[in-house]
Amino acid sequence: MREGMALRMNFWLRGAVPGLLAVGLLLFSVLPLGLPYFGDVRPLLILIAVFYWSIFWPELMPAILVFSIGLGFDLLAGGPPGIMALVLLLVRGVCVNQHRPIVGQTFVVGWLGFALIAVGAYLVLWLLHSIYYFTLFDPRPLVGQFVITVLFYPLVAWAFTMVQSWISRSVVE
């Protein structure tokens, strides 16, 4: 019984890591990096986090966490509160329902899937912002940010793969 508790605790603690990582990525995405020309096209790393875990292990990225991360980003970034929360929730909804074509496939398929989801997410972001501010935003910086985010996917997803197998090991043990 005691051993069972310890095992469960171990799993719980490890299971909290994706959420903590996502919060870390959220903080990282608002820090002043001071890199030339990076400000406009900073990758939206929280999108990668929400996509990855919603596809491969949705229980570790519950909807309430996705909502909190999105709202946290909105509040810290100074944009309209609720927009990122809504978009990330939509991403999660789509990923949880449509994970079949990606799970168990090669890495490139996951990458393509992410690119596809990201296109949708950025379209919705652009649309919502345009309605909110009642102005048509220049889509070019958006395209830049999209491309950078998609290019960052392999690196971040690779790190998540490591984390995922580390958590699974605790389940098997």
């Binding site: 002043p32 030339p36 400000g39 220049d138």
Partner: protein, 286 residues
């Protein structure tokens, strides 16, 4: 027992799925509700935002320090590489500035004498608070910064923010120990400016690009690339005469301005506590 246990799991599993679906839908609805409420300028939302920012400020403050330290090291290395050229350039610049200093001294003396003769009224002196930028979300949609100085440090809403190069923006919201700066490039930024050479007044309007637009120029006003812009002091929010930027293009009637501020190297900025000249409605019967 067995059929009972089986029926419980058979019943509980869909229940859990339903509960999860319900929670998800509620969260989506909550996001939309928050969005609509913020559009309606609900005070509650702004207060919540201030609290979240106040909570996150110490974390961001600590987390941003190694990054700025790292950037400083990179800068130092870059400086070492171009030390000789930099030295030559600075020596040349120094020679030029010495001449300017001479001119400035003369003008300052002239100015003081003339002011004395005319009994001219001086602008009130401005004091300032300097803080460090702890969050920077340059992006396609918003241009704001978080500063690690807030109401406790005497920062107030509406005060202007300057870097060593020029005007950065104004304080849009304040928390206890942090405040949000709305940059002059943000979509919501409107600043009364003065074209230095010609004395035209206009409004500098941000549009989320690096180069804000000059709007509401007087009819027939001639503005050409190279013209310098300063704050005009109209509207009372900004002290007059602070440098903003330089006109870069005037194509199709749209005048674009390149701000002096180097957005990528913005680390320390000053919040100007400017007591605007205002009419006192008091004993004098004004």
């Amino acid at each position: 027992m067995r059929p009972f246990g089986g029926s419980v799991t058979r019943f509980a599993m869909p229940l859990r799925v339903v509960a999860q679906r319900f929670a998800y839908t509620m969260l989506v609805v909550a996001s939309i509700a928050i969005l609509v409420a913020s559009k309606a300028d609900l005070v509650l939302i702004e207060r919540f935002r201030t609290q979240v920012v106040d909570f996150a400020a110490p974390i961001l403050n600590v987390a941003s320090q190694p990054i700025s330290g790292f950037n400083r090291v990179v800068d130092k290395i870059a400086e070492l590489v171009s030390l000789h050229e930099e030295n030559d350039r600075l020596r040349e610049e120094n020679r030029r500035l010495m001449q300017w200093q001479e001119t400035a001294r003369l003008l300052q003396r002239d100015n003081a004498q003339l002011q004395y003769l005319l009994n001219g009224k001086r602008d009130p002196e401005a004091s300032f608070v300097t803080g460090r930028v702890i969050a920077d979300v340059g992006g396609p949609f918003v241009r704001t910064l978080l500063l690690n100085a807030g109401a406790e440090d005497g920062v107030e809403k509406g005060q202007s923010v300057l870097s060593a190069d020029g005007l950065v923006g104004r304080i849009a919201a304040i928390g206890r120990s942090a405040s949000r700066i709305l940059l002059i490039t943000d979509l919501n930024s409107r600043i009364p400016v003065l074209v230095e050479q010609s004395g035209y007044r206009a409004i500098l309007a941000g549009d989320n690009t690096d180069k804000p637009r000059l709007e509401f120029l007087p009819v027939g006003a001639q503005v050409s690339p190279g013209d310098r812009l300063t704050t005009s002091g109209h509207g009372g929010l900004f002290p007059p005469g602070r440098p903003i930027g330089i006109v870069t293009s005037t194509t199709n009637g749209i005048v674009r301005v390149q701000p002096y501020v180097d957005w990528d190297r913005l680390e320390f900025v000053s919040v100007l506590r400017y007591d605007r000249p205002a009419l006192e409605f008091g004993a004098d019967g004004l």
